[in-house]
């Protein structure tokens, strides 16, 4: 893919560049390609949403960026650059310093990202002291400030409590405080609201957005919830079967999707206030990793597929406002295609 294809932001400096990323999972029967040729960039202070259905490779892409792919998953090709520096092949200790310091993380389940045996204060203090030269009492003061910032009432008292003494929403606030503790440049948020109730979801999204803006952190927001993306992201990448199907400004992708998959996905979401007897549906299901069809991965479910779609994989090409990996928008494909 051409580098120019990604320069929607234009003036801003890219903070994170992912180029032609390929993630493989070797197993007994061969090698599965979970993420294949994924390229995108995130500018400073930008919120990039990554959406897709389960198994589309969105979480693996996020894990690859923070260097937390669980073996046997591994990066098998491409590169990941943070402020121009390659971070996908760093030794463990060096990557550890980058995690937390430069890249913060918020995971889906706040209970598993906090250690149940340590108080909130100890976990926050440890993070702060690992990455800065703050002393113990300064780190504690900073921890209390952070807890106040994420809206935890009586922070001075609650700092000495354990994770189980917090509710789900409050725990996720603590996790956000942890992620932002040392002002990282980038926060990877993987389904940060999926485990929470609707009324709490809205609170957490508003908080994450506000804090990242205040701290000047860019966000890679991974979710399956288009509503969350619509409210939060500047740009959105839609993933399908390990590839990016479409990427562009969030309003364009949501209101005016170009890729048939994105278009179908948007139509299948029920909306309050829209009276339809039948939701638009994409027949079939996303292919399993061991059965990704030749050509465009979406071709068996696509109503607009033609011969070329079954033979050759489309690259991301400009559709005007967005970039879509679809032969409908490729000039070369257009000549060969049978559509109008």
């Amino acid at each position: 893919m051409s580098a120019g294809a990604m320069s929607d932001g234009g003036k801003k400096r890219p903070l994170l560049q992912v180029e032609d990323l390929r993630i493989e999972i070797p197993n007994r029967r061969g090698t599965l390609i979970a993420v294949d040729g994924v390229s995108f960039q995130i500018d400073e202070g930008e919120v990039l949403g990554v959406v897709g259905e389960s198994g589309a490779g969105k979480s693996l892409t996020g894990s690859a960026v923070i260097g937390l792919l669980e073996p046997p998953c591994h990066v098998a090709g491409g590169q990941i650059l943070l402020e121009g520096r390659r971070i996908d092949s760093l030794p463990y200790e060096e990557m550890r310093r980058i995690r937390g310091r430069e890249i913060g993380m918020v995971f889906q389940d706040p209970l598993t990202s906090l250690n149940p045996l340590y108080t909130i204060g100890r976990q926050l203090g440890e993070t702060i002291r690992t990455h800065t030269d703050m002393g113990e009492s300064a780190a504690r003061r900073r921890s209390i400030e952070l807890l106040q910032e994420v809206g935890i009432p009586a922070a001075e008292r609650r700092i000495d409590q354990y994770p189980h003494e917090f509710s789900g929403g409050m725990r996720q606030r603590v996790v956000i405080a942890l992620a932002l503790a040392v002002n990282p440049r980038l926060v990877i948020a993987d389904e940060p609201t999926t485990a929470l109730d609707v009324s709490i979801q809205a609170q957490i999204i508003a908080l994450l957005k506000k804090l990242c803006r205040e701290h000047g952190a860019a966000v890679m927001l991974i979710t399956h919830d288009m509503g969350v993306i619509a409210e939060t992201a500047d740009r959105v990448a839609v993933m399908y079967a390990g590839r990016i199907a479409e990427i562009g400004p969030v309003a364009e992708v949501i209101r005016n999707a170009r890729h048939p998959y994105t278009h179908g996905l948007m139509g299948s979401i029920p909306l309050v206030g829209h009276d339809v007897t039948r939701l638009a549906q994409i027949d079939g299901a996303m292919p399993r990793l061991n059965a990704i069809p030749q050509g465009c991965a979406f071709n068996p479910r696509c109503t607009k597929a033609f011969d070329l779609c079954r033979q050759e994989r489309p690259e991301l090409v400009s559709t005007g406002a967005t970039h879509a990996a679809c032969w409908l928008y490729d000039e070369g494909g257009r000549r060969d295609g049978t559509h109008g």
């Binding site: 259905e53 389960s54 509710s167 929403g169 409050m170 109730d197 609707v198 009324s199 709490i200 979801q201 809205a202 609170q203 999204i205 508003a206 399956h224 919830d225 288009m226 509503g227 969350v228 619509a230 409210e231 969030v250 309003a251 949501i254 209101r255 179908g264 996905l265 139509g267 299948s268 979401i269 029920p270 909306l271 309050v272 206030g273 009276d275 339809v276 007897t277 039948r278 939701l279 638009a280 549906q281 994409i282 027949d283 299901a285 996303m286």
Partner: protein, 349 residues
């Protein structure tokens, strides 16, 4: 959403068109520490009022949805209605028959086969060691609806076709299917005894959106085809808007508001309903400013006094803290349990 008949469920009772009637239904769970701890450490008995006196009716062929946040008791209601829990108080009448009054097996069975349940997790609700054909045939065999292997097999094939699968799938095992296909199998199993009433507990919340659309479309199509009545439990308001004729909003074991889906979404009256509707992410990006909701759902073991919602309610007054509001009918149909609405402190809409 289809425009429901002009009759509200309350008046439908008189017409005899309602299939399910729930009156004063309550379910308490004893979550006390063990007896020894209570005696030695003087710990009190703890009663969790999961469902605390709710009323609703579901007219034949319609969908009644219950929405609410986790812990509000909506799944307990589903389990009470199908008879998986025994109610602490109250009545559930199915087609005029009081379910609690049935004690003998031969009385229960004919009613049981007329109502079925679809569960949330399509991975946990199908036995991994059984073939699909056996899973779907189980209700047929249990109720002795069809005798003879060949006839059962033919019926299973027919059911699989109804839900968009193929008769040859009967030979396969659950692990060979995706989440959406498994939910289709659950629906086929539920339809096997030719029920009139399906209780669906979050049937699409474990599915991806594009698959969710397939299942919702299938459920609506089956409802039209077989005249099914649904009790639909969900926390996703957009899904509920799409599927429901009637809608009830639960908060900490109580029904705070119910009415036609159109009315509840169009003119929500209870402050909690308004709050929930406001929390829906805005996919149309109209730039609508959402009022952030304050607070969280309190612990249901020790709910707030009076109206359970008062600590989070911007309109709470002294009376709300003291006295639980009664559910009062609204002129436009449906009911709402709120002192502020009753006293006219809240303007409509």
């Amino acid at each position: 959403m289809a425009e429901p008949a002009a009759t509200t469920p309350a008046t439908a009772v008189a017409n005899g068109t309602d299939l399910v009637e729930v009156r004063g239904l309550a379910k308490y769970f004893d979550v006390s520490p063990p007896l020894l701890n209570r005696v030695l450490q003087g710990e009190p008995r703890l009663i969790l009022k999961a469902v605390d006196g709710i009323d609703f009716v579901i007219p034949k062929g319609k969908t009644f949805s219950l929405v609410g946040e986790s812990g509000c008791g909506k799944s307990t209601v589903a389990r009470l209605v199908v008879g998986l829990f025994k109610p602490t108080r109250g009545h559930i009448r199915f087609d005029g028959v009081d379910m609690a009054g049935l004690t003998k097996r031969e009385e229960i069975e004919p009613v049981r086969k007329r109502l079925q349940m679809i569960f949330q997790d399509p991975y946990a609700s199908l036995n991994p060691r059984w073939r699909i054909g056996d899973i779907i045939a189980e209700p047929i065999r249990a109720h002795r609806l069809i005798e003879g292997k060949a006839d059962i097999l033919a019926r299973v094939g027919e059911l699989l076709t109804h839900v968009g699968l193929s008769p040859v799938d009967a030979e396969k095992f659950p692990h060979e299917f995706s989440g959406g296909q498994r939910q289709r199998i659950s629906i086929a199993r539920a339809l096997a005894s030719q029920p009139e009433f399906l209780v669906c507990d979050e049937p699409t919340s474990a599915l991806d959106v594009s698959v969710q659309a397939q299942i919702l479309n299938l459920m609506k199509q089956l409802q039209r085809e077989f005249g099914l009545t649904y009790l639909f439990i969900s926390h996703d308001l957009a899904v509920v808007y799409h599927i429901s004729d009637y809608l009830g909003v639960m908060y900490l074991g109580r029904l705070v508001e119910w009415g036609t889906g159109r009315r509840v979404f169009g003119q929500p009256r209870h402050p909690y309903t308004r709050m929930l509707l406001d929390a829906i992410p805005d996919l149309e990006m109209t730039g609508r400013r959402r009022i952030p909701v304050a607070g969280e759902v309190p612990n249901p073991i020790n709910p707030p006094t009076g109206c359970h919602f008062h600590p989070r309610c911007p309109f709470a007054e002294d009376r709300c803290r003291r006295e639980a509001p009664k559910s009062l009918p609204l002129p436009e149909g449906g009911e709402v349990a709120c002192h502020a609405v009753e006293e006219g402190r809240l303007e409509a809409g």
